[in-house]
């Protein structure tokens, strides 16, 4: 992209070709110097002392300098596909190196003697990992790959982390120790979290899509419907959960034996479904409304029945917007389901709130990280699905 290079060079120093990378690297250096990379505590109850990257890096870690040097050089290199690819590879290596370093140092610091010693990841680690990930993501963006390849590259960048995790290289980190302590709780929480999401999305789709179709057909229905859905959306989730407890408890008292309870899964799923309706109804209605009127007129005029017009013309043309509504909903529900733990619905939120209550930050992270991973995976998965469905179309 010579034009881009000229444009970028023209605004500042001509020898800096990638400002974004430069800024991210400066931020990374700041985080490395100023924030604790690891924190060591004699047991899980007391707060630890921080260790900076300087304290940890020895001659044995010289290899980490290579991808770092590569990234520094890339700031000054003329942009080309090869340079962007090199940035992706360097960032992936650096990320893997940082994670490996954290794992190895955790093993060294906790030693073989004390099982109580806790080595947890510090702010410096999280900041560095995030910044290096952003470097990789920016370079992938610059490569301008088609969707499927772009997603594959993202997965490839994360692959070394999965390998390190699987090989046990990180087992001495307190995060993993927390996991080892409650392996079964974690699994149960994960399973429950997925249940909440599925139990929300299914009714949300079953109710939301027909409502969206009706809203697209009738303006008189659409205005009040979106009014109500917007109001629901502005209610804080905790308030909505609380609001549902009273009527559901009443219902439970009135209908004993139906398994209805004021707290637990049912109010959580009802509240989350209410939140999920807006993006789905909106996506469906917007999708149907942007179907060209001429296409419908021509389809009818050529002898399609109302049903054929709907399934052959309107649905396929509305599908991309419907699916983008579903994407928004899914990510939103995965996140909101954390809060549902407050009313006893379980899920990863249970770990988060347990951790918050006992000031165990690692336990909070153990609940948050899989939620983030789940949301990112669901988003990418639905994006790929949308692209696949449109594959045969322009």
């Amino acid at each position: 992209m010579p034009a881009l290079a000229l444009g970028r060079g023209g605004r500042g120093a001509a020898w800096i070709h990638n400002r974004v990378l430069g800024v991210l690297l400066c931020g990374g250096l700041g985080a490395a110097v100023g924030l604790a990379f690891l924190s060591v505590a004699p047991n899980r109850l007391v707060s630890g002392t921080g260790l900076g990257l300087r304290d940890l890096l020895g001659p044995a870690h010289a290899l980490l300098g290579l991808p770092f040097a590569g990234l520094v050089l890339a700031i000054f290199a003329r942009p080309s596909r090869a340079v962007h690819a090199a940035v992706v590879v360097s960032a992936a290596l650096l990320l893997a190196g940082l994670v490996w370093l954290a794992g190895a140092e955790a093993g060294r610091l906790s030693g073989a003697s004390s099982t109580l010693t806790r080595v947890s990841l510090g702010g410096g680690f999280w900041a560095l990992a995030l910044l290096v990930w952003l470097m990789a993501a920016d370079a992938v963006q610059r490569l301008g790959l088609p969707l499927v390849q772009r997603t594959s590259v993202h997965v490839a960048v994360l692959m070394p982390l999965a390998v390190l995790l699987g090989a046990g290289a990180l087992d001495q980190l307190s995060l993993l120790k927390e996991y080892a302590n409650r392996d079964d709780v974690f699994r149960a929480a994960g399973w429950r979290h997925l249940q909440i999401v599925a139990a929300t999305l299914l009714p949300a789709l079953l109710i939301g899509v027909p409502l969206g179709v009706a809203a697209a057909r009738s303006e008189r229905l659409a205005t009040p419907l979106f009014g109500i859905l917007n109001v629901i959306q502005t209610l804080p989730s905790i308030a909505l959960f609380a609001l549902l407890i009273a009527p559901l408890s009443g219902l439970a008292a009135a209908l004993p034996g139906w398994g209805i309870r004021g707290i637990g899964l049912l109010p959580a799923v009802i509240a989350l479904t209410l939140y999920a309706l807006l993006p789905i109804v909106h996506g469906t209605a917007a999708g149907l409304r942007q179907v060209p009127a001429a296409a419908i007129a021509a389809a009818t005029g050529m002898g399609m029945t109302v049903r054929q017009v709907f399934w052959r013309i309107e649905v396929p043309l509305a599908l991309p917007l419907l699916l983008s509504g579903l994407r928004v909903t899914t990510v939103q529900v995965i996140g909101l389901a954390v809060v549902a733990a407050l009313i006893g619905a379980g899920g990863f939120g249970a770990l988060v709130f347990q951790g918050l209550a006992s000031s165990a930050l690692d336990l909070v992270m153990l609940g948050v990280l899989p939620v983030v991973a789940l949301a990112i995976a669901a988003d990418a998965g639905l994006e790929l699905l949308t692209a696949a469905l449109q594959g045969a179309q322009p």
Partner: protein, 310 residues
């Protein structure tokens, strides 16, 4: 083939179509024309039951159209509209195959028909079959729209301002092709337009409508030569009347055999209107004329433009 008997349609208090009677014979090219709000488009849509008439009777091949299912009668009449209404998520081939698919034709027959129509409309099947509407120019989209209307070899073709959105040159090319298709296939065509030149060029019969009623129906020459009312004259345009009359006739009708005229020869199929333009442009009073094979057939004399006295 299509018979309208005192047909009427009211939208609220306004009479969109008010007691129209019209018989359209097989093979006719009928152009419904009129100012906006004259009911021409409503009239067309009543024929394939997109708009239901509330008075009178409409017969298709002798049977009341209400005795058919609306879908069935629509599948027997091709339908093309102004903005083409091509389905953006379907390829050109699938768009053209719409009605044959609805009728359940076998796949090989559909594929063969699609290629045949693409060729007829001047689109190379190999290159255009797999394209999507957004990859086509406006003129090409309308060609596909016409091909789609013709796909199931319908008994009649209904067209609602099909060329309205095209630039003048593309419009004229498509008009010529439609005229050619009409001559070659003998299909009954009913076309709605507000463009009098389009009507004069294409129609075997023009039906001029105003406020839901027929003002005059007749051949282009009849409308030009014997306008029934002032409204007709105004609509056709008084100042261009003579030119439009010349536009209906070809050089072949006035050429004198033999005689050698100077200059570049003109085609016998050229309209007299265009010939007049050439007389003025070249500043001559005779033009050499050749036939379709390029053989000299004689000369056109300026004085003969007027033709025999009426």
């Amino acid at each position: 083939m299509i018979e309208l008997q005192a047909v009427g349609k009211a939208f609220g208090a306004t009479q969109a179509v008010d007691g129209v009677s019209l018989t359209i014979e097989r093979g006719e090219f009928v152009v419904l024309i009129g100012p906006s709000g004259s009911g021409k488009s409503t009239l067309l849509k009543m024929i394939n039951r997109l708009v239901e008439h509330d008075r009178g009777k409409i017969l298709f091949l002798g049977a009341e159209i209400r005795s058919f299912r609306p879908e069935d009668i629509r599948r027997r009449m091709g339908y093309a509209i102004q903005s083409t209404g091509l389905f953006p998520h379907w390829s050109v081939a699938r768009n053209i195959a719409t009605v044959p698919e609805l009728l359940g034709w076998p796949a090989p027959r559909i594929a063969a028909r699609v290629d045949e129509l693409l060729t007829l409309l001047g689109l190379e099947p190999q290159a255009y079959r797999g394209r999507y509407p957004h990859q086509l120019s406006g003129g090409q989209q309308q060609r596909v729209g016409v091909a789609r209307a013709l796909a199931a070899d319908p008994e009649a073709l209904l067209m609602d301002e099909p060329f309205g959105a095209l630039d003048p040159i593309t419009r004229q090319t498509l008009q010529d092709e439609l005229a050619h298709i009409h001559r070659a296939s003998g299909k009954t065509i009913v076309l709605v337009t507000h463009d009098i030149d389009e009507a004069l060029r294409l129609a075997t019969r023009i039906v001029l409508l105003d406020r839901g009623r027929i003002v005059q129906a007749g051949t282009p020459a009849q409308l030009l030569a014997q306008p029934a009312t002032d409204f007709v004259s105004d609509f056709i345009g008084r100042t261009d009347l003579g030119l439009r009359l010349l536009g209906l006739q070809t050089v072949a009708e006035r050429v004198r055999a033999g005689g050698l005229a100077e200059g570049t020869a003109i085609a016998a199929t050229l309209s007299l209107r265009d010939a007049l333009s050439l007389f003025v442009e070249r500043h001559v009073d005779q033009l050499p004329v050749v036939d379709a094979q390029g053989r000299a057939v004689g000369a056109l004399h300026f004085a003969d433009l007027l033709g025999p006295q009426r």
